[in-house]
Amino acid sequence: MQLHEEKYKDLNLKIGLEIHVQLKTNQKIFCECSTDYINSPPNNNICPICTSQPGSKPMGVNEKALENLLKIGLFLGCKAYEKPFYVQRKHYFYPDLPSNYQRTSQPILGNGVFMGVGIWEIHIEEDPGRYELREGKVDLNRSGVPLAEIVTAPDIKSPEYAREFLRDLLLSLEYLGVIRGESGSIRADVNISIMGGNRIEIKNVNSVKGIYKALKYEIVRQKAVLQRGGTITMETRHFDEASMITKTLRKKETVADYRYIPDPDLVPIYISPEMLQEIESVLPESPHNKKKRFMEEYCLGEEIVDALISDLYLSDLFEESAKNSNPLEAGKWCATELKRRLNEKNLSVSTSKITAKHISDMVGFIERGELSVKNAKWIIEDAVDTGEEIPVLMDKKNFYQISSEEALVKIIEKIIGDNPKAVLDFKSGNENALHFLFGKVVNETEGRAEPSKTIKLLKDILCGGLNA
């Protein structure tokens, strides 16, 4: 299930992520300020609560934030805990944290799974403001935006899989409409250990690409340490975006005692079974159910299905295209070539020009023998980029294959007529002559002769099956 495992086989990689996503709401989590802070000049999207003025108190948790977080949890197959949870105070001094404690809740849901990776727990917390370290400047506009923190089990086995996992997770959460889609709206703490050694934590990586790079670097770094005969001690590191490497945090900053206490200003919250049922009823199909259905309804193999279901946009596109084409083919192409192209270009189904019709049209051409598998890969790339209709693209690129027996026979007869020596060579047992003649057919048709059919017909005609 996890691709790209081969080169990391002997490393026994254990990667876990603590992912922070901004929940989609109008107001901040504890106050009535807007969450649309990006468009505001610095320190202009603030109030006494999110700047922690003396005497200010948090208002009740934003209901929509909680609802969106529950949607994420249920979608990821998590269960809610039976008892009420507290919002806690996590104390540490930092200029972007107005109270010098962060309000973060106890786990709300847990024990889920996504793409084969366990989801340990999900909880809600407030975003701090922004502190520009190098310039010594603080902007509190972002302070108080609601975040969901998703904590995974260390089940991820490669940087590539981490990247795919995050990509699909974010796409699906966007599809659910529960997170803000702007760039910079994901942050993660990354945990990695190799060969059963100690865990290294890399804090606060701000992008999917950054997470990938940080992991790649860490693997190289840790291998080098071990090769030199050293050991890996448990520590916290920082990822430097500019140089794309991880660095040790100064010791002072890593000694942390957060002195968690339940926040006395926020009364406990209890998620009732009724609340959950209501939310579940408006959720789209879960990956678990979709997988089952795809395998049963479309008879797709597990690996193909896994690649489809984790990106909800992609699975929708597949289902749409399967209405008008062979699902096995459509599924295969969506799960492999299409997905790969989108990843390469950092696009999603919704941000590229690909449509279900492209896939169903293409599959039709392939099945009729008019489009070779090799050329289909080019067609997909063009469709993703330009969105032009498949027939138009096939024309432009001259991809129409000749596979009708009648047309092929005509051409073969011409080639046979033009190359008597080769025919004689073949008849005297020289297999190469067949390939020579085949090559001539390919040339004559500008590569459009459908290969397997051509070879078969050539053989048949040469061996005297059809009229000579």
Partner: protein, 472 residues
Amino acid sequence: MFTRDLIEDLLSNSVEEHLHKKIGEIEKSNKEINAFITLSIEEAEKSSKEIQKKINENSQGKLSGLVISIKDNIAVSKLRMTCGSKVLENYISPYDATVINSIKKEDGIIIGKCNMDEFACGSDGTSSYFGPTKNPRNIDYVPGGSSSGSAASVAADFSDLSIGSDTGGSIRCPASFCGVYGFKPSYGLVSRYGLSDMAMSLEGPGPFAKDTYGIALLLDVISGKDPRDTVTIESNNSYLKTVENFKDEDIKNMKIAYAKEFFEGVDEKIKNMILDKIGILESEGAKIEEVSLPNIKYSIPIYYLVVFSEFSSAMSKFDGFKYGHYAGGQDIVEAVSNTRETSMGTEVKRRVLLGTFITMEEFKGRWYTKALKARSAIKEDFKRIFNSYDLLIGPTMPTLPWKIGERISDPLAMYSSDILTVSANLAGICASSQPVGEVKGLPVGLQLHADSLSESKLLKGMRAVEIACGGI
């Protein structure tokens, strides 16, 4: 009823004149008493004119131009809020506390911000960065704390009413020492939005007045559910009616308990005075019985452990970057440490350090968690009593006010003076103090407790004591 007469007076005479009388008193005596940190005379005069107009049109709010002083840890927009500390010496509040909104809406006139023990860390009114407040009844003596200026301003006639805050007796203690009425509402009845946090699960704003009527009036104005404070509860806001409808015969229906533990270690003269008042109530027909509160002796340690932990959390916000005193430094760690070190007073530092210590992972279970488990024992004690009784009666303070400078600042000695008041905060119930006499010219306060959200019972009890024992 003094305050009621006062309102009637305001309705027929000049609001401005009444205000000027108060200003006169302030100008005469505040320099000595030091009840105020910031005065707001201009704004007050402006308000008085507006309120007069409303009175002329008979559209005035419930407070009708009464003059009110506000403890300086409660936010009044555009006024300085210092919390009695160098930390916030120059901080101008950008917003109004919910109780202030309510007071303004009901046409109370805010005259100024009252002196207090620094960040409410004290029980005698002498730890303010802005100098001690003196007891108006005898300026050589402490006024009590931490709402020292609030109590003093009512006692000295600088204001008709005041709003203070009570974390472990901070309203009742100065009310007792200054000889005025002070009321600690049930936790959750009055919004804490705008009250600078000190111990969040224990504290809340509350009224000072010269009589039960004034207490009930102000309580009606400030209580009620507030979306800006999630712990608040709906109120029926008819406390004034409760007091107005009280008849002498109602004393006969009262079941009043007194706890023997609340008389242990109390000054003999105070004890006798309180017992005397209890005797009067009994002779008027109230049912009086002795009970026991066995866990009271643990209330000081439990209280202070909870206070330390919540206080250290509350004080984290003071780093000098967003507001308050700033000392600067090489880096963010040094700048913050220098700032806090040079702006916080000794008791504040002591509580921050202890609070940090007892919430650290390796010490938490021993102190913080255990204190919170023990807290339920106190709550249970009261629940048991109020199952059978309406009220608990006793003294407010174990001693008379002491001379300013007399008490050595040994923390344990300071803490122990709160022994009779902290349990009400631990349990979240309501309690009051009212003057019932004096010894050597110094006021003695009688304390009543009632169950959580039983303000009506408590006010009836206060009225009963007021009538039967002759309020001062």
